[in-house]
Amino acid sequence: MNLNLKVWRQKNSKTEGRFESYQVNDISTEMSFLEMIDVLNEKLIKDGGDPIAFDHDCREGICGMCSMVIDGRPHGPWQGTTTCQLHMRAFKDGDTITIEPFRANAFPVVKDLMVNRSAFDRIIQAGGYISVNTGNAVDGNSLPIEKDNADDAFAAAACIGCGACVAACKNASAMLFVSAKVSHLALLPQGQPERKQRVTSMIAQMDKEGFGSCTNTYACEAECPKEISVMNIARLNREYLQSSLSGK
């Protein structure tokens, strides 16, 4: 099939960006979305142009490196799918596809479709861990964990840190990301000793990074490629309240 692309081009964070139009021909429905861009880039290079810069690595939906807003939706039209797993079956001949970077003040553009998401690393640094040095552990089975809790913790820990939740939110809030980590650790007995401190520190860092507030539109959940539940945000709010009441 043949497609028209409108792609955001921006040299770096200091320059202004703009949309540019490209035509790609003979695209197979078997291709992934990123393979379609590979085809375009090969053509651009051969023609002496500047290929489109985009983040990607594992191309199997788990590293969280790929991003892009495709026709207004982070990671494109398929439910629960990263851009790298989106396949061209999702489009039809003659379509015009608009491709933009994730947009948020806390995610400055690096180049074209690449953004800087190091704010997420700094939120984790603020408390998204259990303080246990190597060598301190007791036997894994000495700490039975109710299966439901273990499963819920896993479901929250499945977050890939891609930032689609931020890109989807009209306030550019990072609540889904932060709540997934808070939930993961709060649901486990190992996470209890630092539970109250953790939530306050992570929220403080989130605010400091310039992410917006949560107004419960649930766009984050709808666009999350790993379908992380907004129930985690409810849990985060409870954790935060309890922590505040205890003066931590």
Partner: protein, 657 residues
């Protein structure tokens, strides 16, 4: 002859004795010692975090935008540990024995036994970090089985075990970043090793965002940079996975060991066309419950559902009744290739076999019906119940298959074919994980040491974390204890200036070629040569041709590659060009190594050396050694050997029948 420095004494006491007698660095001195860690996957993140916790000053580097992206994250199935929680006869010795046997007797006993010993600590450490492993209703840890073993020792978190383990290590790493013991450099790539007076003393790193070259000093340098599977172009590796850091070290004196030992994983989604940029693995855990088959008739174009049971060939169950669908990866891959080459392949390309879940769905459905006391249930209800169980166990893998192929694997068997997955070869290291350059260490997939000629499933995660959490924290001190009084070396030292100049010259040379062909096109051509002639089956004639072809391609690359953009900006094509240039050298060495090894073992299958029924034929009298290659100049290597002494296990022909 290379000395692996395996401690003397009985096998099961070596590591304990080593730990008890190794030299230490006191806490006050640790603060004065700087360590560079390149790569932040399981090996790198666990090493950087652990060394930071111990008090060393660590600088860590990764080319991705965050250490959490490293490709360890894509590991699906699980991590082995000799916990024997299932009471099924597992032990440290059995894990050791299975790994040695699985590696076709080309791994070191001492290293592998240590790996099996620390495997249990890894699980405990990860649980303490909050890694949400799968659990039973009683709240205890769950296990499953994997290829090449007859016990259940694999710990897992759905089909995302690598992700959960890496996030655990990443969180520990970020905690150290917050505490100031680790300085993290993302979007940086190591492009030169700095050696001063025979010791590794730092690196030249390139800031991928600005193109700037940076000098970084370290009393020791740890390479945790993964494997080189992307030399094949198509592999299950991430797009950015590369050999560059290891290769630069190789060119500065680190020997490269067993480069021809590459693992082709049997269960991947088949290639769909020329546009293909990477291949996707379907976890080995699927072979727990799935059955692999092809039609009994050649060129059978019927739909799988139209092929009756008695016209199917469950060839793994037929050839290997004891292990069935759970034979090791090299054996399963070759068996699939054999069937497809003989004309029994399925799908439009005929380069695929079926992985079928129909039986498992029925089996689980009946168990569920009985668990729930449902009494009289219809066939449809059993199928529905069975699908639910399969979904819980393997749901994310089935979803991934459906997204990529557009087919529903709950209804129709998956089509799978082998693909490049892991590289057992890597930088040669001794028992302390030190390369042939003093002060330079290699951890995880980047070294060669523990998997011999074939790695067992769920052992890569185990080795990466063993090296990072429990080996390097001990062995590094033995070297650093001599460095205490020496202080830092200024990055103005001529060796830094020279290394930076070399790196700069090379980048300028690359960008100024301004030829006609893209980096990608060269990479694809290299991959095809290596896959065709140094892939699942190799022979002397093919390897000789491949060596000539890779050399010619390398010359063509250096005279006709086209790289857009400039060197002082974010330029992914330039980054890729540097990596492909290194693959073009490594590819030749792989073929030379494969040609030199006149035997078949593990993932290295030389067609000239096979038994009457097509199994790998080892030559223990002539090839019981590790090949370690010293680089003299581009295209010129000298072979050194490390003899493998088996003190405990008696090597025999591997049998899974």
């Amino acid at each position: 002859m290379l000395d692996s420095k395996i401690p003397p004494g009985p096998l099961e006491e070596k590591w304990t004795k080593y730990k008890g007698s190794v030299r230490l660095v006191n806490p006050a001195n640790k603060r004065k010692l700087e360590i560079i860690v390149v790569g932040t996957g399981l090996a790198g993140a666990s090493a950087a975090a652990s060394l930071g916790e111990m008090g060393y000053k660590v600088k860590a580097f990764c080319f991705q935008d965050s250490p959490r992206r490293a490709h360890s994250i894509a590991a699906q199935g699980g991590i082995n540990a000799a916990k024997n929680y299932q009471n099924d006869g597992d032990s440290v010795y059995r894990l050791f024995y299975d790994t040695i046997k699985g590696g076709d007797y080309r791994a070191r006993e001492g290293n592998v036994h240590r790996l099996a010993e620390v495997s249990t600590n890894i699980i405990d450490q990860c649980v303490a970090q909050g890694v949400p492993f799968a659990r039973e209703y009683g709240g205890l840890l769950s296990n499953r089985s994997f290829g090449g073993t007859q016990v259940q020792r694999t710990f897992y978190a759905a089909g995302q075990t690598g992700q959960q383990l890496l996030i655990g290590a990443y969180q520990s790493l970020e905690r150290q970043v917050a505490l100031g013991t680790v300085e993290m450099h993302t979007r940086h790539e190591m492009i030169e090793l700095v050696v001063i007076d025979g010791k590794a003393r730092g690196i030249i790193a390139r800031n991928l965002q600005t193109g700037e070259l940076e000098r970084h000093f370290g009393h020791a340098v740890l390479l945790c940079t993964g494997g080189y599977g992307n030399v094949f172009y198509l592999s299950t590796n991430a797009m950015g996975s590369n050999v560059t850091a290891a290769w630069k070290a190789h060119k500065k004196g680190a020997y490269f060991a067993n480069p021809c030992f590459t693992q082709i994983h049997p269960t991947c989604i088949p290639v769909s066309g020329d546009h293909q940029s990477k291949l996707t693995l379907m976890s080995e855990s699927l072979r727990n419950d799935g059955r692999i088959w092809v039609p009994l008739k050649q060129n059978d174009d019927r739909k799988p559902s139209d092929i009756p049971e008695n016209e199917r060939d469950y060839y793994l169950e037929r050839r290997y009744p004891a292990f069935g669908n759970l034979v090791p990866r090299d054996v399963a891959s070759r068996a699939a290739k054999e069937r497809c080459d003989a004309g029994y392949g399925v799908g439009s390309s005929k380069q695929a076999v079926y992985l079928d879940y129909a039986d498992a769905i029925q089996r689980y459905g009946k168990i569920e019906a009985s668990k729930k006391n449902l009494g009289n249930v219809s066939a449809e209800e059993i199928t529905a119940l069975g699908k639910e169980v399969v979904k819980e166990k393997y749901g994310n893998l089935f979803n991934m298959y459906e997204k990529i192929t557009g087919e529903n694997p709950y209804e129709t068997p998956m089509r799978i074919y082998p693909a490049v997955h892991y590289t057992m070869g890597g930088l040669w290291v001794d028992y302390e994980l030190k390369t042939t350059v003093d002060g330079l260490y290699a951890l995880g997939e980047a070294n060669f040491s523990d998997h011999g000629a074939n790695r067992l499933g769920a052992s890569a995660l185990m080795q990466g974390l063993a090296d990072g959490y429990f080996v390097i924290p001990y062995t590094l001190g033995n070297y650093l204890s001599d460095e205490i009084g020496k202080g830092s070396i200024s990055t103005d030292h001529p060796a830094f200036a020279e290394a930076e100049k070399n790196a700069n010259d090379r980048i300028n040379k690359l960008i100024s070629i301004n030829g006609k062909q893209t980096v990608e096109s060269f990479h694809k051509r290299l991959g095809k040569i290596i896959w065709d002639k140094c892939g699942m089956a190799r022979n002397a004639d093919g390897l000789k041709q491949a060596i000539a072809e890779v050399r010619a391609l390398r010359e063509e690359f250096w005279s006709d590659v086209k790289i857009p953009g400039s060197i002082d900006e974010m330029n992914p094509e330039l980054d890729k060009a540097g990596r492909v240039a290194d693959f073009l050298e490594l590819g030749e060495l792989m073929c030379i190594d494969a040609l030199e090894r006149n035997e078949s073992c593990g993932g290295h299958f030389r067609e000239e050396y096979q038994t009457a029924d097509g199994e790998a034929l080892r030559d223990d009298s002539g090839h019981m050694f590790v090949s370690a290659w010293e680089n003299k100049e581009v295209g010129n290597w000298v072979l050194h050997k490390e003899n493998l002494d088996y003190e405990v296990v008696k090597p025999s022909q591997r049998s899974y029948k």
